[in-house]
Amino acid sequence: MAAVSNQPTFDLREPGGWRRNKNLIATGLMYLAFVVILIPLCFVLYEVIAKGAKAISWQFLSNGTIPPNVMPLGQGGMGAAVVGTLEITAFAALMAIPLGILGAVYIYEYGGRNWFAKVISFMADVMVGVPSIVMGLFIFTVWVIPQGLNGLSGFAGSLALACLMLPLIIRSTFEMLRLVPNHLREASYALGATKSRVVLTVVLPAAVSGIVSGSLLAVARAAGETAPLLFTIGAVESLNSNLFSGATTSLPSQIFSNALSPYVGAEERAWGAALTLIAIAFILLFTARIVTARFTRYTR
């Protein structure tokens, strides 16, 4: 207040020189990383939309007869593959989601230091890293081959996809359960709740948004898998809506077989199928966001 003329003994100004440059460089690198990540993403989306959009029509999505590769675009459609993908994925989700959530609840809430829980947890970790084609081969060996020709079916595909989803769901649910603060569990226990009550009325509701989005991510990932379906669902060109009997087809399988073909019509159909698959995954994830937003009403 008094000695205005006094030189301040400290300096509050932004430091210049090397320290500021370091800051600039680090900031620049972060933006660069952001752009680098965006490039492949945008490129893939652009390519698929640019090349696939013209194939998309109501007929393409609904017509149940997939034309031979030589036919130009406009004949038949991917309806069989769309139905196949939706059915196979939905049934796989139906099997894997409850099982995965229950498994994670067991490992985290009930397992404790129990060796059995540790083994399951370890197996789930290992299974996340197993290549998807191995899942296909596994189901092929234990389910398809014993039944001979009748073995190929949508259900076999669902089994393979469920094997693929299961570890992902266990893993993500486990992480979500870990995030539920312990003081919430204690609050419930202190009111005389049993363990199952605590899990059902406190832990799962608190974790539900994460569990739902984790599960749907696993579903979306499985929906786009080709390898597990190669050996399990067979290949047909017409609609087979019966999940449990007879070979069927799926969008990834059709992308695979059409894209390999030299014919223009087939390639265009492959792009169209790719766009359809991306759209399905997108719709799934979008739904997940809406659903979880509803569930998290009370978390502030």
């Binding site: 609050a187 005389g192 049993t194 406190v202 978390t299």
Partner: protein, 289 residues
């Protein structure tokens, strides 16, 4: 502040119970808890050694002492909350109204249903205010809307919170202030009409005004409940409690171990004005801790 316990006399207390009984000519209530040489372990670590004390009905009993002296551990043993900690183990006998708490066949759930707990950090569920209070009755099988409404109103009134929240019962409990959240947690504990309420530093996260409200509340509900409170605030202990138990840390330099012990237990007035143990005196006069 650095490891003050080392400076003071390192003896395990003789039975402080006898001393407490001597002073206790005005004693009225019947015993609720009767702990007899209780030691509590976490794995191989002996957190608390040889605690014996009696807690009486319709009284507020305060546990005071420096950090790490095991007062919270003892508190959590009284409603078997420590069962939830992996590796926790209790030796000795704790009687609750004549029944052994750690006997074979005793259900922790049934114990906690009668002996409620309020925690250090307010921990309302991420649900509406109404659902927070109705949670306890619901898990105990009460379903009727009318009954639940009554319980919610009664509990919130007892916790002096009703007037503040009656118009927003369906709003999230997490939108309340810290003091309100803590009173909500008390109301939630009251909703199942427990016999005993254990409070683990219930005011440590609150400002003096919210603290005052909770202390008033404790005085008000004292006639119906038995309260045990852990506190770091000695003024709070003198304000609210009838009896005080002073715990301390006992260090053994040779084996480099430490454990919590009950140094002195008696009427709050006696503990603060005429402590029998030098360690108690050092602590309550603020020379240590």
């Amino acid at each position: 502040m650095e490891q003050p316990e080392q400076k003071i006399q390192l003896t395990v207390p003789k039975s402080t119970e006898a001393a407490a009984k001597q002073d206790d000519d005005r004693f009225t209530g019947s015993p609720v808890f009767d702990a007899n040489s209780v030691s509590i372990y976490y794995g191989t670590f002996r957190a608390v050694t040889d605690v014996s004390l009696t807690i009486f009905e319709n009284e507020i009993t305060a546990f005071i002492g420096p950090s790490g002296c095991g007062k919270t551990t003892v508190l959590r043993t009284l409603n078997r909350m420590n069962d939830l900690v992996v590796g926790a183990r209790v030796e000795g006998d704790i009687q609750y109204r004549g029944q052994s708490l750690y006997e074979r066949g005793v259900s922790p759930t049934a114990v906690r249903r009668r002996i409620g707990m309020v925690f250090q950090k307010p921990n309302p569920f991420p649900k509406s205010i109404y659902d927070n209070i109705a949670y306890g009755p619901r898990i105990n099988g009460i379903r009727g809307k009318k009954t639940l409404d009554e319980i919610v109103e009664r509990s919130l009134r007892q916790a002096a919170l009703w007037d503040e929240v009656k118009d927003r019962l369906n709003k999230s409990a997490l939108g309340m202030s810290g003091g309100q959240q803590q009173r909500l947690c008390i109301a939630r504990t009251l909703s199942v009409e427990p016999d005993v309420i254990l409070m683990d530093e219930p005011c440590s996260a609150l400002d003096p005004i919210a603290t005052g409200k909770i202390e008033d509340l404790m005085h008000e509900i004292k006639s119906r409940y038995t309260i045990v409170i852990v506190t770091h605030n000695m003024q709070q202990a003198t304000r609210v409690s009838d009896r005080t138990a002073f715990y301390s840390v006992l260090r053994d330099d040779k084996s480099d171990t430490r454990t919590g012990v009950l140094v002195e237990y008696g009427r709050t007035q006696q503990i603060f004005e005429d402590p029998h143990d030098t360690r108690t005196q050092a602590y309550v006069t603020g020379r240590v801790g």
